[in-house]
Amino acid sequence: MRTRRPALDNRYAMLTAFGQDRPGIVAALAEGLYHLGCNIEDTCMTRLRDEFAMMLLVRLPAGLAPDQLPDRLTPKTGPLRLTLLSREVHPKTATDTSTTQAPNLMLSVYGADRPGIVAAVARVVANHGGNITDLNTRVIGSPDRPVYAMVLEIHLAGGAQSESFQAALESLKPTLGVDITLRPIESVQL
């Protein structure tokens, strides 16, 4: 079914939405954007415990400014009590789909829960010029013996060959009391 839609502008917005999870959030957001004449480009959503979070890269129709998005979506999303934020993304950034920053390393870090694990590991990655492209942490284990588990995907020039990176990670083990495994991401082009 095709309805008459306003022409798309060469303007993009990054819309973030978060709030308590419940069925229908994605539907309401997507319908709201559709009715405004927006085009949803790339999106990502997840849940942290019972909280919903979503990022949408949206191409805007002529006449709609990025900062108008949250208010204009309220009729659709209001009952869901979401927090909506929107900011403009440069068209060059928004349309860059190059894969030069594809992750080439996977890092697993886990150990007894204690403050500072994420900070220390992320600092080592940053100091070696690595870029964290995906990150997930969870507190697992039993309530009396919580275990912190963290998985990162990293883009690092030189990959697993970087000996100083490996050495720096190794030195974190006794300091943080964690186990760390670094391995290359094997992705096969078939």
Binding site: E153, E186, V188, L190
Partner: protein, 164 residues
Amino acid sequence: MAVRPIRLYPDPILKRPTAPVCLTDPALPDLIQDLLDTLEASPGVALAAPQIGYPVRMIVVDVTRKKGSHGHGLVVLTNPRVLYQECPRIVREGCLSVPDYTGNVRRFEQTVVEGTAPDGRVVILTTSGLEAQAYQHEIDHLEGTLFLDRLDSLSTDLFRRRGR
């Protein structure tokens, strides 16, 4: 013969089941050469005939094109099928026909494949690892199945397990 352009999704040929190959078809040698030439010119380790525009059941596989990979070397198979597979695991793969995208799919570590070589010999190959993955991926192409149809998870996520 020639390096053929690799068909990209949404080319409909990639979603259609293909026809069996007849070994007496006079067009067969050209098709084989096109597949070999196109594989040679590609960054991949295997190709299926529909990926270069021929909707027939033929594949070429050579995982030794990837540094450090072992297997049976260059194999051309017509009418291949999986006889047996075991040890499912999640692996990340991409497809020459779906550029710039990789995903986690469930493939079998060990796969026994049967097919007919161009000279008419029936070939049975016991494959493992990357080679097994390549045969599964290419045989999928002959059914009009892409890795996108087999995605198992959105991203690497150790913690969300089914049935919890």
